[in-house]
Amino acid sequence: MSGNNSYTKLQPQGAEDVQSPSYPGNYSARTKKRWGSTPNSYIGTLNSTTTDGIHTQLSPDHIFPAQLYSTESGRLFHAGKILIALVGLPARGKTHLSVSLTRYLRWLGVKTQSFHVSDYRRKAYSNFEDDIPQDYFSASPKTEEGIKIREQIINGCLSDIMSFFERERGQVAIYDALNALKIHRLEVEELFSKMNIKVLFIESIVDDAKLLKRNVNNAAASPDYEGWDPKLAKSDYLKRIQANAPIYEQIDFDKTETHLNYIKFINFGERLVTHNSQHGYLINRIVFFLMNSRIKAGRVYFARCGKSNLDKYIDDELLNSEGLEYSEILCKTLLARLKEKRKQELREMINESPIYSTPISSVNSQSSSSNVSTENIPSLTRKHLSRQPSTADGSSVNSFVVWTATRKRTSETANPFRRKGITVRERYQLNQLNTGAVADMPEEEIIKIFENEYLQDLKDPYHHRYPRAESYHDLAVRMEPLLLEMERMDGDILIIAHESVLRVLYGYLMACSCYSIPALEFPRDELIEISYTPYENLTKRIKLEGVEP
């Protein structure tokens, strides 16, 4: 871990200073020492909350949802600067990878930006059908013009990356290009090493024909082929692959790149090989992310919990009759939606019976195959070689799982699903924002008792924390272990939770700025559906008929 960045040290506070804080509760967490900038300057830069904000440019002072602290350099002090250079032929999911990795790292508070060479090319040649010399798409063009254009576009991209590090306080840049030739990779390595930036190559290799076909189909739906006949789009895209396949050089194929730091990412998570990559926090996080990375087919649904009589934080009540009715409508609407999306019957969604119905065959039994003995091992049969269907939640595309908080009314909202045999999991991390000293307090009372706190809250509702309460930021940090578990599920998942929790999860999936998260609204009469595409996540609100908002 490098501590080479200059960052604002949290100054040791004098005793007097701490003894008489201007505000009760967690005083120094809200001082400028922790959050180096005033949120007011962002009001104009809020991204839309209905479209995925993952491609939004960041301001140098941007603060991320689960960021632990801010520094003068804008970088976390327990990790250095990293350029992640992607390597791989077209249709290897590089863009998907760079987008989802950016989402995850940004969430953790790492200033990350993807740089897609294809975006630069699109900017230069909006009408790419006619104007671009076809050999541009080869990693080593033959015509003079092709060489020139390729150089221009790539240099434009690289110089933006450099200025991201130098002027925009960037910590991780993801360079989304083919990087198909060894000579290009060595150039990139040399260029950025000189700037004291660690270069990590992630090579995406796909040799699974099914996966490849899916990626090609996805690509044919990309911005490049807007308005094209799908068949033509596909064949054009295949041409781009063919142009590069013969000249493509895998990393370290001839053992001349052993000095590089690289990760080979094979068939989107089937196998990972890390090389020279023992650099602590960020790289381990990236590997953890890659282990759980999927090209996701399943959708994520969000719903509020039903109502209880008093709707109070501290009492933890059961649902009232209105809440029970709501839970039934929710279940009915969601299952109808899933059926429509999957065109399949509900009983197929009910997860397989738990593994504990399979008893351990007694180790002392007479049956020869289960006898634990090392004598005369019969050769392995096909049954032993093939993997059993995985039994974890969400391991098949047909699975459907419901997650709720551990609080009573949230969990009870899932009862109609339980009755249908659908898996429901209670997760402590999904419990609602703890409102501490102002729990269940009407606004007028808060203003009366905690006037200063109230003003602070208006200023920065994401980071502000009432005495003993959690902030949205705290909630985001608390939910971190759930994110990738949710991401790796192949099937659909419904999350029933309090509005505060939905705001934060939605903020992750749609890359909302932390200044817009506290204001997101999830009325009870809407079911949120989020689906994944390689370039961005899409959201849809589905009306729950017969429910009061």
Binding site: T274, M291, V372, S390, A392, D393
Partner: protein, 460 residues
């Protein structure tokens, strides 16, 4: 209704099959995985084939491990069978989730046998190979073994090392490492020279990925973790729990003395790059909670500081700000229930110890990765962190006594964690409550072995 920690596990059985020559850190990794998972209430156990073998043959020499030694082969096979039998019992009778088969498992034949048994019993095998040709790492491991292995108990360390090296070469004759080409359908992780190269193949569940992530965060660099409660607070003086009170006068004295205590223990560390004139050269980061009393305690320390909401004291919900006597009066049923099962009891509108462990998981993950850290936090939180490093069972950890105004140094070593306590010599009230009373203060308790681990009071 059980609460899930990192992953839902009731329909998962995983067998982590260690692979590798002797002195490759297999037992170290096995024990750490068990510690991590057990702490998260995921039932995990390590089955060390060597321990089973020692029951039949306690001090074997290298010849015993020769692949032509019929007697040796027979005993080693029997030991493996017994370990696997116990492992199956663990899955069946104890509803185990993760078992670790800690042995060399160095031949394909042996691994196929385990693979077959796993597949026939709906257990997911996950192979974890530690492969190493870096002499400095191997030598270090051999040094550890010759002094700590029961195989060489009471023997001359030099002769032990020689014999052990010979034993390794015997294993080498038949060793077949995992290969991507031939094992591409298996779930396996191959660590080459600790983490120079890591191959991760076919990870199928989130729990497996979390285990791999954990293993990747482990490092063998020497470091220490320092723990301290906040100084005595105004609430401590009044016997109240929770709240966000300021330090008492004596609490402030502790805060003022803390830099000196920390400096002293840091100085006793033997760092090569240590410069006597400049104390800040040793890298230390201070972690506090978001509550005033921990930040005030840290206020005189000249190191980088980081606040974690996850380090806040256990939330006592409706009982926050009360004394134990008041709780006993106002919530008699709750008071009783908490004493009966302190780990699981969740305060009304608040948290249980189990809830706290869940929110501390990312902290533990981060701690494994970091080097020197000083954590200033609260009684319940320290009990949970301490329980992780010292393998304290859930029934005992909430009852451990952790005095105020004491700095605790934990030094994680390969097989155990070394504890040192540095008392500040500033008086403070006791905040310890025994089972079955609302009075504060320590009473002898011979049934609780862990209670005084931290205070260092002699055990009976």
């Amino acid at each position: 209704m059980p609460v899930y920690t990192v992953s839902h596990v009731s329909n998962i059985r995983i067998c982590v099959v260690m692979v590798g020559l002797p002195a490759r850190g297999k037992s170290f990794i096995s024990q750490r995985i068990v510690r991590y998972l057990s702490w998260l209430s995921i039932k995990a156990k390590s089955f060390n084939v060597g321990n089973y073998r020692r029951e039949k043959k306690s001090h074997p020499n290298a010849e015993f491990f020769d692949s032509h030694n019929e007697d040796g082969l027979k005993i080693r096979k029997e030991a493996a069978v017994e370990a696997v039998k116990d492992m199956m019992k663990f899955f069946q009778d104890e509803l185990g989730v993760v078992a670790i088969l800690d042995a060399t498992n160095s031949t394909k034949e042996r691994r196929d046998w385990i693979l077959k048994l796993c597949r026939e019993n709906s257990i997911e095998p996950m192979f974890l190979e530690s492969w190493c040709d870096d002499d400095s790492i191997i030598t270090k491991n051999i040094m550890d073994v010759k002094t700590s292995s029961p195989d060489y108990l009471g023997q001359d360390p030099e002769l032990a090392a020689k014999d052990f090296i010979k034993r390794i070469s015997k294993y080498k004759e038949t060793y077949e490492p995992l290969e991507v080409e031939t094992n591409k359908d298996l779930t396996f992780i191959k660590l080459i020279n600790v983490s120079e190269q890591v191959i991760i193949n076919k990870i199928e569940t989130y729990l497996e990925s979390r285990i791999v992530y954990y293993v990747m965060n482990l490092h063998i660099k020497p470091r220490s973790i320092y723990l301290s409660r906040h100084g005595e607070s105004m609430y401590n003086l009044e016997g109240k729990i929770g709240g966000d009170a300021d330090l008492s006068e004596r609490g402030w004295k502790y805060a003022q003395k803390l830099p000196e205590l920390v400096k002293k223990v840091l100085k006793s560390e033997e760092h090569d790059d240590y410069d006597d004139d400049d104390d800040t050269d040793i890298k230390l980061t201070v972690w506090t909670s978001t509550l005033k009393r921990t930040q005030q305690t840290a206020s005189y320390l000249p190191y980088d500081k980081l606040q974690w909401k996850a380090l806040d004291e256990l939330d006592a919900g409706a009982c926050d700000g009360l004394t134990y006597e008041e709780i006993e009066l106002q919530f008699p049923q709750d008071f009783k229930e908490r004493d009966e099962n302190k780990y699981e009891y969740r305060y009304r509108g608040g948290e249980s110890y189990r809830d706290v462990v869940i929110r501390l998981e990312p902290i533990i993950m981060e701690l494994e990765l970091q080097e020197n850290i000083l954590i200033i936090t609260h009684q319940a939180i320290l009990r949970c962190i301490y329980a992780y490093f010292m393998n304290i069972p859930q029934e005992e950890s909430p009852w451990m006594s952790i005095p105020l105004h004491t700095l605790i140094k934990l030094e994680p070593r390969a097989f155990k964690t070394i504890v040192e306590r540095i008392k500040a010599d500033i008086p403070a009230v006791s905040t310890y409550k025994e089972k079955g009373t609302s009075q504060l203060g320590e009473i002898e308790d011979i049934n609780n072995k862990s209670k005084n681990l931290i205070t260092g009071a002699p055990l009976r």
